[in-house]
């Protein structure tokens, strides 16, 4: 074969590879949408599928049914997708940034910080604000404080990514012990309330919280995608990325900021859902590698599908009851994760 033909064939192969990756992303998106349908159709109120469909199509249904479908199930089910997506992307970018597949927003202490912020508001009161607003604000403020510490550390050029991970883990322990302290000092019923928030659940979702989370996620993910190739280069190591013209220092700060804002908002509304930031990027990496053009979208839809499925499961494990989805995520996720790791070898 002459040399030109080899090049043409290799380019064709590359195009096939690209479309195969896009198809994979489509399939996982379809899975997420399927989970969304189930998520809307299933719930503790035992509505029949007909009733749910009728309500969704805008037919005349009982007012109670309408409230359940429109004000409870639909925002909750959509929130599962959005939060899953933002945690998936957050995990992917933190892993890229820190050059470590074991990192996630959770390991950097962001989730623990959210927990502490929320618990402080629940324990100390909300200064007149309605609790449904004050708790997310408290969680968000504390998460931004934790991110701020990481941000300052990351801005020092002496600090390597290993040291940043260590600092994050140290923060995780600090916030966890402070959280325990708050719980220890609180009255039992307050402590109970804190515990319930910590489980992570979607039940408090409103159209407003869904709107805020969606808007923030869309903006942050779009901005992150602009750095797709620079982030891909970063995974060759900071020194090599610098040889390719990446300003690694500035990139590190920008990405850390975007991920912190995005995951903080998500966690603040739904509580601690830890596992997705680790598992979604891992699955995406196995399926399409770490070219960020495919890695980020696939981490996103995998995270969305994962949380949506967990949300469905949280409703069917005990019919009529609703488990906190944060518990279900790890419960289902860990065996699945082990299975992936084992079949890969």
């Amino acid at each position: 074969m002459d040399t030109k033909a080899i090049l043409v064939e290799t380019i064709q192969h590359q195009r096939q590879l690209e479309s195969r990756r896009w198809r994979l992303i489509m399939w996982v998106s379809a899975l997420a949408l399927l989970a969304l349908v189930f998520d809307i159709a299933i719930g503790p109120s035992m509505l029949t599928l007909d009733q749910v469909l009728a309500a969704l199509m805008g037919f005349d249904v009982a007012p109670m049914t309408k409230v359940i479908v429109y004000d409870l199930r639909l925002p909750m089910a959509l929130m599962a997708l959005v939060v899953g997506a933002s945690l998936g992307v957050g995990g992917a970018e933190i892993q890229t940034l820190l050059n470590n597949p074991m990192a996630s927003p959770y390991t950097l202490g962001l989730a623990a910080a959210a927990g502490l912020g929320a618990s402080l508001v629940i324990a100390l009161g909300s200064f007149g604000l309605p609790l449904i607003l004050a708790v997310p604000i408290g969680a968000f403020s504390m998460t931004m404080l934790a991110s701020g510490v990481l941000f300052v550390l990351a801005s020092m050029s002496r600090i390597s990514s290993h040291m940043l991970i260590l600092a994050g883990i140290a923060l995780l322990f600090l916030f966890q012990s402070l959280l325990s302290l708050v719980q220890y000092l609180s009255a039992p019923e307050v402590s109970q309330q804190i515990l319930f928030w910590l489980f992570g659940n979607l039940t408090k979702t409103t159209w407003t919280s869904l709107g805020v989370t969606t808007a923030v996620s869309v903006v942050c993910i779009t901005l992150l995608m602009r750095h797709a190739w620079a982030l891909t280069a970063l995974r060759l190591g900071e020194a090599r990325a610098a040889t390719l013209g990446v300003n690694t220092h500035r990139l590190r700060l920008q990405v850390l900021f975007l991920v912190a804002v995005m995951t903080s908002v998500a966690i603040s509304f739904v509580g601690v859902i830890g596992f997705i930031g680790l598992v979604a990027p891992h699955i995406a990496r196995i399926l399409v590698g770490e070219d960020q053009r495919f890695f980020v979208p696939l981490s996103m839809v995998t995270g969305a599908a994962f949380l949506s499925i967990a949300s469905v499961l949280s409703k069917v494990i005990v019919p009529g009851a609703l488990f906190p989805v944060g518990i279900v995520t790890a419960f289902v996720g860990v065996p699945f994760f082990f299975w992936i790791i084992l079949i890969r070898r």
Binding site: T10, R235, R240, E290
Partner: protein
């Protein structure tokens, strides 16, 4: 006048040179270069030689602007290296650092494409793919284009990184031990490519090498470093003498000649010497 002499003369008039003026580099508490001056011309391959820890890599890093100078200046033509215009300085440089460890799940083609980082978007067009693949074909790794870089041998990875540097289309090429993981065949292949590309594209090529005989075969000029000080520079023939090398490396050295009359440097076993004496 030989062919290479003519091209050298042409290059000196048309392409800027890279000049180091009395540069000193301090790394932590140790000084890795002291009042070092040199001039590098386009179309020439320069090999930096010397024992371990004498600041060969540091010199490349300083030229790249990764290590700051404690004294002296670096110029490319009229342009000085300054930390404020680092991005545009680095634009001209294709730098291949030491080491072959890569733990990222990317295909070889994706890694090579990163060389043209500024030109990459969500969709990478046929033209750019073709450019990358042509270089890969020339270097002999086009058949590896879709392999995961992690599954490659260290030597194959070195070839991929070299393709990445070429795709950058640099004016200055800095190679830090580019053949350390390669077998004989690939060592020759890569250095031959370095030589050809340097001539064709009128590059300034500076490479750190450990194998003195390879340096003698492929470098136009060699620079011998010892303790951060330039011990000697010039053609391999003039610089690589046993009188200079023996004390510097701390071993007895013999200089032989191959059939083309190029020097071959061979370290001698201490034991052998004992037996002969």
């Amino acid at each position: 006048m030989t062919c290479s002499d003519i091209s050298e003369a042409v290059s000196q008039t048309t392409m800027p040179a890279l000049r180091l003026d009395e540069i000193s580099i301090v790394r932590g508490a140790t000084q890795t270069a002291r009042a070092l001056s040199a001039e590098f011309n386009a179309g020439q391959v320069y090999a930096i030689l010397g024992p371990n820890g004498t600041g060969k890599s540091s010199l490349l890093k300083a030229i790249f602007g990764e290590l700051s100078l404690s004294q002296g200046r670096i110029h490319y033509g009229p342009h000085p290296l300054s930390m404020r215009h680092l991005a545009s300085w680095r634009q001209r440089i294709g730098y291949m650092p030491q080491g072959t460890e890569i733990d990222v799940s990317l295909t070889v083609l994706e890694v090579v494409l990163l060389g043209k980082l500024d030109a990459l978007h969500m969709y990478v067009g046929d033209e750019l793919l073709n450019e990358a693949l042509e270089i890969m074909q020339q270097v002999g790794i086009v058949d590896l284009a879709h392999r995961d870089i992690q599954t490659l041998s260290g030597g194959q990875r070195q070839l991929a990184m070299f393709c990445q540097v070429l795709l950058r289309d640099p004016a200055i090429m800095l190679l830090d031990e580019p053949v350390s993981a390669l077998d004989m065949h690939h060592q020759l292949n890569l250095l031959e490519q370095v030589h050809q590309e340097t001539r064709q594209r009128r590059l300034i090529t500076i490479t750190v090498l450990h194998d003195l005989s390879l340096a003698a075969q492929f470098a136009d000029q060699v620079m011998l470093l010892g303790e951060g000080v330039l011990q000697a520079s010039g053609t391999p023939h003039d610089v690589l003498t046993p009188e200079r090398l023996s004390p510097l490396y701390g071993v007895a050295v013999e200089r032989l000649y191959d059939s083309a009359g190029i020097p071959v440097i061979r370290p001698l076993r201490q034991m052998n010497r004992g037996l002969v004496n």
